[in-house]
């Protein structure tokens, strides 16, 4: 049976063109890009081509792109750099709905004596902008706000936020891991100082990411060692994955509007279909400003992990914000920050589509999901 993969905010399938592009670097093109000989040097040139492709996805200059090992490394590097280059500033601003890559870093810094402001969101998951205006001070080293949320799909008004933060003379970083490849990002149109990207969220393999660092931004590397990445990220390059990352960016840039229109149409079909066929279901998050591929729905009186495992029986992959499926006993911090009642969080399911999602797959989910919800509700003491 084919897998119906609707968990693309967790990871994506490597595109065939991307895989083909990276294969030679596992066999004949194995030289070290830092070597003096042509054998290694030619690899260096291919990395620079990949850098150009990654840069053009967000309209950056190639020298503004640093390749990293993942989105988390990009996030950690950006925040740590801000703190290292401004040792007298002891305040960080972020949001309550960030990815753990930002959240945990901030909590760690809190333990080291930094003051952290976690900006709240409203019931639709929209950032309370007014709180940013009052939180920012001369002490603030950096403001980090995600471009789009991985769980709700809600897109934050990054242009407005970046302009405000910039007007206060404070650094601005955005975790654009979920947005890149799905939304047209133009770093020349707004004063973003740093932005994090991840390969495996846009059909490149796991283990590669990038950090955009605007020209002129003071920077301190997280990893020290060799002079790779112009001294901004030591360590021999993950060549094959970097090549793949470049190719994935190239494809994403070409397809961004057409594919996203198609994906959005499928997402809406899925969402509306489920709301129609499953009473007691509601969408979490601002439906106007949302990633085109993401739908987060709460099904009352049933528990998320149970839904996921029933879906699993039909080879349908999704994810949940429930406590049981998180591996801890705590339900989703994103949905809690939005004020979604616990009862609804436990029954929340996130479907995230990709350009590989087909109409017949959506039909299949629309056929199976009401059965699953009904069966579980029949078992529930609350219905």
């Amino acid at each position: 049976m084919n897998v119906v993969y609707l968990d693309n905010n967790a990871s994506t399938r490597v595109a065939d063109e991307v895989r083909e592009e990276m294969m030679p670097y596992f066999s004949e093109l194995y030289g070290n890009p830092s070597s003096m000989h042509l054998f290694g040097g030619q690899v260096h040139r291919r990395i620079e081509t990949a850098r150009e492709k990654a840069a053009s996805l967000i309209n950056a200059e190639p020298d503004e792109i640093v390749f990293t090992s993942c989105g988390t490394e990009s996030d950690n590097t950006a925040l740590m750099s801000a703190l290292q280059t401004m040792p007298d500033k002891k305040h960080l601003i972020t949001t309550r709905v960030e990815h753990p890559a930002i959240h945990s870093f901030c909590k760690l810094m809190y333990g080291k004596g930094y003051r952290i402001t976690f900006l709240p969101v409203d019931k639709q998951g929209r950032l309370k902008f007014g709180e940013l205006e009052t939180a920012i001070t001369d002490e603030t080293a950096i403001v980090s706000v995600m471009y789009a949320n991985n769980e709700s799909g809600v897109i934050f008004p990054i242009e407005k936020i970046a302009e405000f933060v910039n007007s206060k003379g404070v650094l601005f970083h955005t975790d654009a891991v979920q947005a890149a490849g799905k939304l047209a990002i133009d770093v020349k149109k707004m004063p973003i100082d740093m932005a994090s990207l991840s390969g495996h969220k846009m059909h490149a393999p796991k283990g590669v990411g990038a950090l955009y660092i605007k020209r002129g931004t003071r920077f301190s590397p997280l990893l020290t060692g060799g002079h790779q990445e112009a001294g901004r990220r030591a360590g021999t390059e993950n060549v094959a994955s970097i090549i793949a990352f470049g190719k994935a960016c190239e494809i994403a840039a070409l397809n961004i509007s057409a594919e996203n229109y198609r994906v959005k149409t499928l997402r809406d079909k899925l969402e509306n279909g489920l709301l129609y066929s499953c009473p007691g279901a509601q969408v979490n998050g601002d439906i106007e400003h949302r990633l085109p591929n993401t739908s987060n729905i709460s099904f009352e009186f049933v528990e998320g992990e149970a839904i996921l495992l029933r879906l699993n029986e039909y080879n349908i992959c999704a994810s949940s914000g429930s406590a049981c499926s998180s591996g801890s006993l705590e339900p989703s911090h994103v949905l809690r920050a939005m004020g979604v009642p616990f009862t609804s969080i436990h029954g929340s399911i996130r479907f995230s589509l990709s350009r590989y999602t087909t109409d017949s797959e959506i039909d299949f989910v629309l056929e199976k999901m009401p059965l699953i919800i009904n069966e579980l509700r029949e078992m529930s003491p609350y219905t």
């Binding site: 309550r96 959240h103 909590k107 809190y110 952290i116 402001t117 976690f118 709240p120 009186f301 049933v302 528990e303 998320g304 992990e305 149970a306 495992l309 029933r310 029986e313 429930s322 406590a323 049981c324 499926s325 591996g327 801890s328 006993l329 705590e330 339900p331 911090h333 809690r336 920050a337 004020g339 009642p341 616990f342 009862t343 436990h346 029949e378 078992m379 529930s380 003491p381 609350y382």
Partner: protein, 277 residues
């Protein structure tokens, strides 16, 4: 992804004895929808022989909660009340071919529902485990209940206590108390006794300590969960606060308040109470 046994999978996909017995002789209701799992067990008992002739369950929860619920009904039908009471949560887990360690609390919940249903049948109003002092505010667990599960399952670490009961799995502030409870049980020494009273403070000292604690410890914790708290007034021994953000709308607001009170009692003075402005 959890590693479930085939038996768990089978009973999750095709559970036995789903439903509610009309005119049941005993009902056991445990857990809550807020905590993420809940189980309602109903039993039919033959009065003459005290044998459980039928049992049905309704469960809100994950795969292992549903499978554990189904398992308990399979295990008790045909048994006498006394035989059924001898079942432990290990028996439930064993029937399922084992549960992931982190999911053992599902088997404990099954066993609790059984106890509650039998107590209801016998006309007892309150189960023994409901008495005692609350250790885990998040999940409302008492020391009596924790002691019971710790001893029955020979638990040695706080992590396992969380796996088996959920205690400490919420905000985590009670983890030190769980550690103390474990030491007390396994060393045989009383540790979790009354804390030595702190020396009397002047009002100004007290207010500044309260302010400090709220600012440095309580607010960051609440903020990271989307809430906030502000100190409004200290009136004698009554600390008046106002809950903001998530906390003010949260169903757990009472628990939050009790946690703040506990922290203040512990760190500042035992006679403090906390109220909302």
């Amino acid at each position: 992804m959890w590693e479930y046994t085939d038996k768990v999978r089978e009973l999750f996909l095709h559970p036995h004895n789903v439903g509610e017995i009309k005119g049941a002789d005993g009902t056991g209701d445990v857990g809550s929808i807020v905590c993420g799992d809940a189980l309602k067990l109903t039993i039919k008992v033959d009065k003459a022989s005290e044998t459980i002739t039928d049992a049905k369950f309704q469960t809100f929860g994950c795969a292992s909660a549903i499978a554990s619920s189904s398992a308990i009904t399979d295990l008790i039908i045909g048994k006498t009340i006394d035989e059924a009471l001898k079942l432990t949560n290990e028996d439930i887990a064993g029937y399922l071919g084992g549960l992931p360690r982190e999911k053992m609390h599902c088997s404990v919940m099954g066993r609790e529902a059984l106890e509650a249903a039998i107590a209801d049948y016998r006309g007892e109003t309150k189960a023994e485990s409901d008495e005692g002092t609350i250790i885990c505010q998040c999940y409302g667990l008492t020391d009596t209940k924790l002691r019971h599960v710790i001893k029955e399952n020979s638990l040695r670490t706080a992590e396992d206590v969380t796996n088996f009961t959920k205690a400490g799995g919420g905000c985590g502030t009670c983890l030190p108390d769980i550690e103390k409870l474990l030491t007390e049980i396994w060393s045989g020494k009383a540790i979790l006794t009354e804390r030595t009273p702190l020396k009397k403070l002047t009002n100004i000292q007290k207010i500044s300590m309260i302010q400090d604690l709220i600012e440095k410890e309580i607010r960051p914790l609440l903020q990271s969960d989307g809430g906030d708290v502000e100190l409004i007034d200290v009136d004698g021994t009554n600390v008046v606060v106002s809950l903001r953000g998530m906390c003010s709308e949260c169903v757990m607001a009472d628990v939050t308040l009790k946690n703040i009170e506990k922290k203040l009692k512990e760190m500042v003075s035992n006679d403090l109470t906390v109220t909302i402005s």
